[in-house]
Symmetry: C2
Subunit: 307 residues, 2 copies
Amino acid sequence: MSDPVWVGVDIGGTKILAGSVDPHGGVGGTVQRPAGPRDGSVEELESTIVEAALAAAAGAPLVGVGLAAAGFVDAAGERVRFAPHLPWREDDVRRRLAARLQVPVGLANDATCALEAEVAHGAARGRDSALLVTVGTGIGGALMVGGRVVRGSGGMAGEFGHMRFVPGGHPCQCGLQGCWEQYASGGALVREIRRATGTAGSDTLTGPGITDAALAGDPAALNAFGVVGRALGLGLAGLVAAFDPDCIVVGGGVSAAGELLLAPARGALVEGLVGAAWRTVPDVLVAACGPEAGMIGAVVQARRQCG
Amino acid sequence: MSDPVWVGVDIGGTKILAGSVDPHGGVGGTVQRPAGPRDGSVEELESTIVEAALAAAAGAPLVGVGLAAAGFVDAAGERVRFAPHLPWREDDVRRRLAARLQVPVGLANDATCALEAEVAHGAARGRDSALLVTVGTGIGGALMVGGRVVRGSGGMAGEFGHMRFVPGGHPCQCGLQGCWEQYASGGALVREIRRATGTAGSDTLTGPGITDAALAGDPAALNAFGVVGRALGLGLAGLVAAFDPDCIVVGGGVSAAGELLLAPARGALVEGLVGAAWRTVPDVLVAACGPEAGMIGAVVQARRQCG
């Protein structure tokens, strides 16, 4: 019989990724399932999560399960209050899944979990404080102070992507205007390429495609990374003024572009940061746990929540 | 012989305020001294602090002294790294003053101390997390999470006033452009009145004068509070998205205007806050410890630092 395992489940807007995670952050086999439509049923979503968690355990007995949810999780780690791409609304997710799985279950926001993973096993290891910014279609975030990830009074800390970056700027899906994620995300890369090349009709333009083009030396793609990287750094300057963290970890799909994104971001961070000349400007690092960060961190935090 | 006392000393850009502070945050007699010029000598500044601390003790034996400094204090509470309006530059202030006063001395940034006071004895008592924003000539700030004020990795957390509010906006003394304090401070009130009334030459316009005029029903002054209060609330919306605090405490000279400032700020906070409809919007409260907050909090934090 196999050794008992902890399983992490990262429930994103489009897909569910589950895998067993060992105490050193190592990931065993993973399974992926579609998250189903936003207007799908809660019952169906939760059944998929249960099935994925058991499949990831691959016959080994489950010790516990950590859930990372792309949505607003309350500060106690019990309920998903709202999830823009999932059917959960004020749902008692932790208790319900613990009852179905018959093991301890922990629940946290996915960016919170990604930062837990980077603190325990990744780029923020050994740091006293850190900011995580996940740059994907939008911007997610989390903040760690004194070794603990800050949840916020209602569990909603870290919504850096919806801080106002440009007054009266681009409309955002959240209903506001000029949000930072409209200027410093994968979506902003696509917009910047379209603006520069006039290819308004191209539906095939994607973040990864733009990264490939930039790596191949395409001038429009390189320029787009310059513009978006600068916007990233200018926004980070405000967050550093507010928190003064030891380091900044940049994760999410767009971070795969590495220095294409981070070099202009570091320049703009120094340029936009109050008193940059007489302070230590925090290191800007690429996340180390990759696309499995949410799953790994879900287990890190579930072991604590359930222990 | 009198009971032994703790004395707090608030060292601002223009004046030094010292007073004895009891364990309940009660303030005995206070003394005030000019802070001296920015290009004055460190020796002279520190002699004034020593003299003020002893005068505030009024013959009672000193137990210890808390210093609140308008400048960047390192995370350990040892050095003042830089102070825009004072001669300290990387100065070992805590140790030097402890040697001269021959009692334990604690040192922290003045906004940090003001929040310590509000948490221990004021508007943020009993809260798990809080943001403090001091609205005076500029904007200072501090953040408390889990009952502890966050110092930041280099002691520089809370510089909310120099987060970018308007790209390419008004130049700021800090060297950047469009800083929040250019739009949501006493300075912004004065600018707004001048803009509205065309009285560019009036040097007699002051924050307190504008508050009096608004309280007397002056339309230009009322409008200025509306504009500046809105800018305050919009900036707070970004900070709430990032931290999700339990409450926001507004202190500083301009907060004396109370609802004239806070009513428009609360409206703009809800308007500019991501997901305001499905979250608890934090309370926006007037600071309770008044102009003595820095002095009181200096003692709160010094008792901890020296205990």
